[in-house]
């Protein structure tokens, strides 16, 4: 048994898992307050990656690429929310799913029309090249940095959600949005802010992940589905559930890849089926939330 391989895959799983946790967290925030499952969430991930890709081509600055990725998604998020989504807050969940699904198709097709359908390599930032000797293993720098960046971002989102006024409103809204309305808080603005926050997290993750996976217009779809699996495992609407679910999902994929790469994805869904049978509300979900 090759322990180095296992250690490397454990770290790969952590890197993949932290990206999934970020994306799933965006999904969970949007669902938690707005009660909206955003099927266009993967598309925000993809748009972020493309915005970062273009910025990086012109400026060769990864920092700017990340910033632009988040900003472009911010703008797209605002437009989408103001024009379409806001009409759907009071509609049944099926309608919300359908309209975000339609939005995803339209945005993917717009990106395809602009950039073509080809997969394009996102160059590694210069500081991310090379590898570090961890003592027991030589491991690529960038993946280690992804883990650190994701951890910092998760911490930052935690602080926003648990230490700021916006976070207070968001969490109160998750518990009982009616009371929040009654207390006279401008819900429209809060809804917009939350939707855009969730979208930006996805766009940000898209740029961070792009040097590992390369960009193409359909990259959002698989991320969306995997983040669904994450929230089903962790429990939809739960902060810690997203993080734990993300890491579990990342590790399942990476560890299965060692022995049976063909079954890596299948294994992930089997795990999800198991959670569903044993604990339908997810590891951190509360019974009756939905």
């Amino acid at each position: 048994m090759n322990w180095h391989l296992i250690a490397a895959q454990l770290l790969n799983g952590l890197a993949l898992g932290s990206i999934l946790a970020l994306v799933a967290l965006g999904l969970t925030i949007t669902f938690g307050l707005l009660g909206l499952v955003n099927f266009a969430h993967g598309v925000f991930f993809m748009v972020g990656a493309y915005a970062g890709f273009v910025t990086f081509q012109y400026t060769h600055s990864f920092g700017l690429a990340v910033l632009m990725g988040a900003l472009v998604v911010l703008v797209v998020g605002i437009v989408v929310e103001r024009v379409v989504i806001r009409l759907f807050y009071r509609r049944p969940p099926e309608d919300q799913i359908l309209v975000t699904f339609g939005l995803a198709i339209v945005i993917v097709e717009i990106v395809r029309a602009i950039f073509g359908g080809k997969t394009q390599l996102f160059p590694m930032p210069s500081w991310g090249m090379g590898a570090t000797n961890l003592g027991f293993l030589v491991y690529p720098n960038y993946r280690l940095q992804v883990i650190v960046i994701a951890a910092i971002t998760l911490a930052a989102i935690y602080l926003v959600l648990y230490k700021t006024r916006l976070g207070l409103i968001v969490r109160a809204g998750i518990d009982d949005s009616l009371i929040v309305n009654i207390l006279g808080i401008d819900v429209t603005k809060t809804l917009l802010a939350v939707f855009v926050l969730g979208a930006m997290v996805a766009g940000f993750s898209g740029v961070i992940d792009a040097p590992i996976v390369a960009v193409d217009p359909d990259m959002g779809a698989s991320v969306l589905i995997e983040s669904f699996v994450v929230v089903v495992i962790g429990g939809l609407g739960s902060f810690s559930g997203s993080i734990l679910g993300g890491i579990i999902a990342g590790e399942i994929i990476s560890i299965t890849t060692i022995w049976a790469p063909d079954y890596a994805q299948v294994m992930l869904y089997l795990a999800m089926a198991l959670v569903l049978i044993l604990r339908p509300q997810g590891l951190f979900g509360t019974e009756g939330r939905l």
Binding site: G102, F228, L236, Y269, M272
Partner: protein, 349 residues
């Protein structure tokens, strides 16, 4: 012709109208640039969509994983026929349909542990499992990324003689007969007591359960039936193309059948056929237009958003609704057409 699909009294008239339409379609369709093979493809998608309509339009379950059953039915049928294990096309179709229904029962059992948004997410995720399974672990049987080529033209032994379906038009009528049977069965289902329970679940699952209906059992039953429809449609796709494509399992396929059902009109049974016709026809027509070709999916996507936002019941639903305004109803029991759009936000006493 399909305007009375949700009619009240005249059961057989609707079936007759559909039959007349099916017979005439390949002869009328060329006037607007269609052709027999496109008509066949539309019918296959329409049959697939009937299943989608039964679960979504009539029961309110939005499944994003129907491609799993489309692919399963398709690949089982294609495997049996292309390896020569079965020569009887109907036998192979039946086997594919049963296999799809069995998968539907298992996936349905798992996904129906949740409802609403969770159900949609779960069906999407389980749909992906089938895609991955086809792609590599089962590649020995399914051909992986290449799919299964070499399906023979339909051969149907009738006892006294054996039919060999050769021409495109004959193939169209072969599919049209199966579509008609599928449509007739679905219509019987929605007009049966079971159909009434399904609509009760659509309107208010809690109330349906409270009056003593076993809601999970009905949901599982209709989900299994929908999987069977997807399965037979998948089998027909392989037979029609002579080749079973792995794309049948893709999320795009699941998404497209939803879009077709919504555009055409959910809760009408004939709506998916209208949606499939519009989708397939526009796709061909737009692709041939210079400068617009690349944007066909964008245009249809925008149309879909507009329909979801404004005309929740799609084209067929819109037509039946406006006709309903002019018609005097004889019995209140027949008024479900008007009630249907308002169900979701209803407050219970």
């Amino acid at each position: 012709m399909m305007l009375r699909a949700i009619g009240d009294r005249s059961t057989w008239r609707v079936e007759l109208a559909v039959a007349v339409f099916l017979i005439a379609f390949p002869w009328v369709f060329p006037i607007i640039g269609g052709y027999a093979n496109l008509a066949t493809r539309i019918l296959i998608l329409g049959l697939f969509g009937i299943g989608m309509d039964l679960i979504f339009g009539y029961t309110g379950m939005l499944s994003f994983g129907q491609a799993a059953f489309y692919g399963t039915g398709g690949f089982v049928t294609a495997y049996l026929l292309s390896t020569g294990m079965l020569h009887n096309t109907l036998g192979a179709l039946a086997a594919g349909t049963i296999a799809a229904a069995c998968c539907g029962m298992i996936i349905g059992y798992l996904c129906l542990r949740q409802s609403g948004v969770y159900f949609a997410m779960l069906t999407l995720a389980f749909g992906e499992v089938f895609y991955f399974l086809e792609n590599s672990p089962l590649a020995k049987w399914t051909g992986g990324e290449n799919g299964l080529p070499g399906l023979p033209k339909p051969v149907i032994p009738l006892g006294f003689t054996t039919l060999h379906v050769q021409s495109n038009l004959a193939l169209y009528y072969f599919v049209a007969i199966l579509f008609f049977v599928g449509y007739w069965v679905a219509r019987r289902i929605v007009r049966s007591p079971m159909g009434a329970v399904l609509r009760a679940i659509l309107e208010n699952p809690a109330r349906a359960a409270a009056v003593g209906h076993n809601v999970p059992k009905y949901k599982l039953a209709v989900f299994t039936i929908a999987a069977a429809y997807a399965g037979i449609a998948g089998g027909l796709l392989g037979i029609f193309q002579g080749y079973m494509p792995p794309d049948a399992f893709s999320i795009d396929q699941s998404g497209e059948i939803i879009i077709m059902t919504i555009i055409g009109g959910a809760g009408t049974l004939i709506g998916p056929l209208v949606g499939a016709g519009l989708w397939s026809y526009l796709r061909e027509a737009l692709q041939n237009l210079h400068g617009v070709g690349a944007f066909w999916k964008l245009i249809l996507g925008l149309l879909f958003i507009v329909l979801v936002t404004l005309f929740r019941r799609g084209i067929t639903g819109g037509i039946t609704d406006s006709i309903g305004l002019f018609r005097v109803r004889r019995r209140t029991a027949a008024a479900h057409v008007e009630e249907a759009p308002a169900v979701s936000g209803e407050v219970q006493p």
